[in-house]
Subunit: 328 residues, 2 copies
Amino acid sequence: MKLATIHDGTADGRLVVVARDLAHVVPAGGIARTLQEALERWDDVRRPLEALSDGLNAGTAPDARPSAAVRFMAPLPRAWQWLDGSAFPQHGILMAKAFHRAPAEAEWPLMYQGLSHLFYGPTDDVPFVAEADDVDFEGELAVVTGPVPMGADRTRAGASIRLLVQINDWSLRRYAPLEMRTGFGWILAKPACSVAPIALTPDELGAAWRDHRVLATLHVERNGERFGAVPTTEMAHGFDELIAHAARTRPLCAGTLIGSGTVSHSRYREVGSCCISERRAIEMIDHDGTASTPYLRFGERVRMLALAEEADVPLFGVLDQRVTGPSG
Amino acid sequence: MKLATIHDGTADGRLVVVARDLAHVVPAGGIARTLQEALERWDDVRRPLEALSDGLNAGTAPDARPSAAVRFMAPLPRAWQWLDGSAFPQHGILMAKAFHRAPAEAEWPLMYQGLSHLFYGPTDDVPFVAEADDVDFEGELAVVTGPVPMGADRTRAGASIRLLVQINDWSLRRYAPLEMRTGFGWILAKPACSVAPIALTPDELGAAWRDHRVLATLHVERNGERFGAVPTTEMAHGFDELIAHAARTRPLCAGTLIGSGTVSHSRYREVGSCCISERRAIEMIDHDGTASTPYLRFGERVRMLALAEEADVPLFGVLDQRVTGPSG
């Protein structure tokens, strides 16, 4: 099942079911008004939503309308919690090597708490204060959970996965190392993220969902040119483990987002990267500490989509955005 | 004006206005159902709420009921954003000295993003996974903001302050230094906070509100014995500056909480501390690295209240809670 949220003038938007080929949507208002509401009443709404989805895919949903006629928001335009991991080790290895520091070590998955009161929609312009803040993108995947009790084990954590989403975790590199040094994590370096339009139930992935990981390729374009086409296959921790870590000393509420961190792959020379800073790190390693790829300037476009093997419909639809100055 | 939220079976509870002497409350449902809703429509609801408050204080509010007959939740039982500073330098100085490390340095206020989907109410039992996690309290103050645009200056940030609250930022010391070392901030070390029942508009403080700081004394008791009676007068950064820092690269939504960090004072030997770890740090400094005050065990009680000079009504009411194991 594919779900999405469309603009209706409210902060949380309106829940729709999306056809398998992404061509049509159908309002789900009779079942749940918003995705957050659906997540809070999941056991009650799942079957009715699936029935609506079946009707839409069979061409028998009376209220279906073309996707081109609606404007998508992020599936959760705001969420109560967003915890982002760093589960692709290749990214950390390259960053550490470029900056001559030891890779971050911990006996558990790396994770930070991010801003969650605002997620940009897939075609929204994304405003930043200043180009000098070194604006970067980070392509990644995330799960949306149901409620998870404090101390849940991996099995229970894995069973709490309701939906998968694709995220661009915009990052301001000027601040990242300075904030890391304080130990307090990132405030300035991590403004709001963007989310691709479609949220998938795991069964929708078929064989591309294995060991609580998505097996796909994340395609990233900068101003229409390929930046990376990176397999999402090298997650060191499955989403079950990331959720269990997040819930180790706290309960999670329905609608919690848990992210994978930047997608990265050991064949990085061939497949490219999902963020500028990783490409710059590779340049620094190759050229005595000198990076040549610039960070984003206002007006540049970033496009991301994920494809499973032999499929041509982007799993999560398309993120396609323009970076702007503070006033748009 | 004093506001609070009482249990009504919903996640966000029901907004009430509280009398100046805390003896009575009156439902504000005709004006706004929840505090979050009031914060989102502040310009429309402020005067009606003040009129209700005036009636309550004059004894003419028809729906007034005794505070003893209701059960308070946290003013915001869940919030879209909670950013906690560390604005009392004495705390950092003592911690650094005890652990022989350099104090955290940054060209801006220290701040981390905390869990905000759950705030415990003032008399709720507070469950933790294990005593071995080194359960500690942290007494502090916080502001609740209106909307703040990205890049707001201090003047605009200061003008966005809607309410003041008092927080116990429960902390698991076993994890704190390990998570700091990753640079990603705290997930395991920072479970949900508790909040005292009353949220105040700044004008309610009179002379105890100066330079965007609260001038009061935070009284902390552990199992009925005084742990600290610490003046809140040594904040290095006013709340205006903390808000401006938080908003430097992101907008803040109405209902954002911004915290002061643990209250601490340079006359710590006389006034005590607002968290166990600081008292242990003082013991370590005095006794060759040996701390004697234990962290909390299940069943212990922690009580906190703030008093302004010559006042005997606790500014924010009373936080009085019992620490329990994971199943209560």
